[in-house]
């Protein structure tokens, strides 16, 4: 079949909401866009383990320790599902990891902020996972089958993350004055970076239009961000802490909360590598990878040896 006809069939499937599967014909740019988006998403899960893992050894109770461990572990699982989904597009996990470690690939800039207090673990669960869920739920219907299936699994597992984060903050807000102050401080530091998680404004987002046309994304950055603000305002009220935005007010006409201007200069700088923890995060990934090299080699060498000895031994079977 010629390319024009293939393209027509592809567009037709997208139109009819028929999922694209790995062996199906797809435009090169679609493949590239998916690889970029899925691998970035995977990297974000993996790098995202670091700021939270920072508090595993200091979690204030045994129950919190166990739930935080389980949560950070889930993120490893999510990274794994996503790397595997991307691998169906003819790129290996090694290549993707290499892109991350060499600084060529991006990951969500939020994870370049530090976790300074226990309340940050609550704020991450509530805001960062909350924002992630808002982004991810529509991706369960993404046009690429393996991506959509990975997202279904991820969303199912993710639902406990936000709840545990909110519960941490709720406990703090119902606690002592210093605990409440800790919660407010965390909200102050995580609020704006969380809003940035939805990406640049629609008019500045280079990929959004094409991604929506291909039904990878279903909602624009600004639509999701607005939805997030609306939901969070009410959740912050229940906690009794204040969102650090003097311009945040209900707009009767639009039926949404108006909110202040995002500092995009900060956003682009963190992306460029100037965030408070960019270097540490990448360094931590590089170290794990390099220190793990001999382990991976040993496992492969052992597997090779076993394979050979099985071949030698097989005639008797």
């Amino acid at each position: 079949m010629d390319e024009a006809k293939e393209l027509e069939r592809f567009d037709d499937k997208i139109e009819q909401e028929i999922r694209i599967e790995p062996k199906d014909w797809m435009p090169d740019d679609y493949r590239k866009m998916l690889i970029r988006q899925i691998s970035q998403h995977a990297h974000s899960e993996i790098v995202g383990m670091l700021p939270e893992a920072n508090w595993i050894t200091r979690a204030p109770s045994l129950r919190r320790k166990a739930t935080l461990l389980a949560k950070v572990q889930d993120e490893a699982g999510h990274g794994l599902y996503l790397y595997c989904a991307a691998e169906t597009l003819n790129i290996s996990r090694e290549e993707m990891v290499d892109q991350l470690l060499s600084g060529r690939a991006k990951y969500s800039s939020i994870f370049n902020y530090p976790t300074l207090s226990w309340a940050d673990i609550g704020a991450i669960g509530w805001l960062v996972d909350g924002a992630a869920i808002m982004n991810q739920v529509p991706l369960c219907r993404a046009s690429y089958g393996p991506y959509a299936r990975a997202m279904v699994r991820i969303c199912k597992e993710e639902s406990f993350h936000q709840r545990q984060g909110y519960e941490i903050l709720l406990t703090l807000c119902r606690g002592s004055e210093e605990q409440k102050a800790m919660a407010q401080d965390a909200l102050n530091r995580w609020w704006w970076p969380s809003l940035m998680m939805f990406g640049p404004n629609d008019d500045a987002s280079s990929h959004t239009a094409q991604s929506m046309k291909w039904k990878i994304k279903r909602f624009s950055n600004d639509e999701l961000r607005q939805k997030f603000v609306d939901v969070c305002k009410e959740q912050a009220d229940i906690l009794g802490i204040t969102i650090p935005d003097p311009d945040l007010k209900w707009n009767e006409e639009s039926g949404h909360y108006d909110f202040g201007k995002i500092n995009w200069d900060e956003f682009w700088n963190v992306i460029k590598g100037n965030g408070p923890c960019n270097k540490e995060r990448l360094q931590a990934r590089i170290e794990s990878h390099e220190e793990g090299a001999w382990v991976r080699e040993a496992a492969l060498a052992y597997a090779e040896k076993k394979k050979k000895s099985e071949l030698v031994g097989s005639p008797s079977n």
Binding site: E21, K23, C84, L300, Y302
Partner: protein
């Protein structure tokens, strides 16, 4: 460092006794034993399974999407293969 890496495996899980194994995803492992252990650790953390199959991805053979029409469309008009095709009186029981 060698440029070899752990091969990719496909994971199939029986969610409970009596059901078929179903494809749930994939993972990397150096050998089959490790693949099974990894599958247990990655894919059954929430009581998702009672039995695991793994197969190295390169051993899976699949139909070619270009042949989808010729392979699967011909079944469309063979409705007589389904029990509802046959008109029988309502009084008839146990059939």
């Amino acid at each position: 460092m060698s440029n070899q890496s752990e091969p990719l495996w496909e994971v199939f899980i029986r969610s409970k006794q009596g059901l078929d194994h179903k494809h749930v995803g994939s993972l990397h492992a150096a050998d089959a034993k490790m693949a099974i252990e990894n599958a247990r650790d990655v894919y059954t953390r929430r009581m998702e399974g009672v039995s695991i199959w793994v197969v190295e991805s390169k051993y899976i053979h699949a139909t070619n999407p270009d042949e989808t029409e010729s392979l699967f469309d011909p079944a469309n008009d063979k409705v007589y293969r389904h029990p509802t095709f046959y008109d029988l009186p309502d009084e008839l029981k146990y059939m």
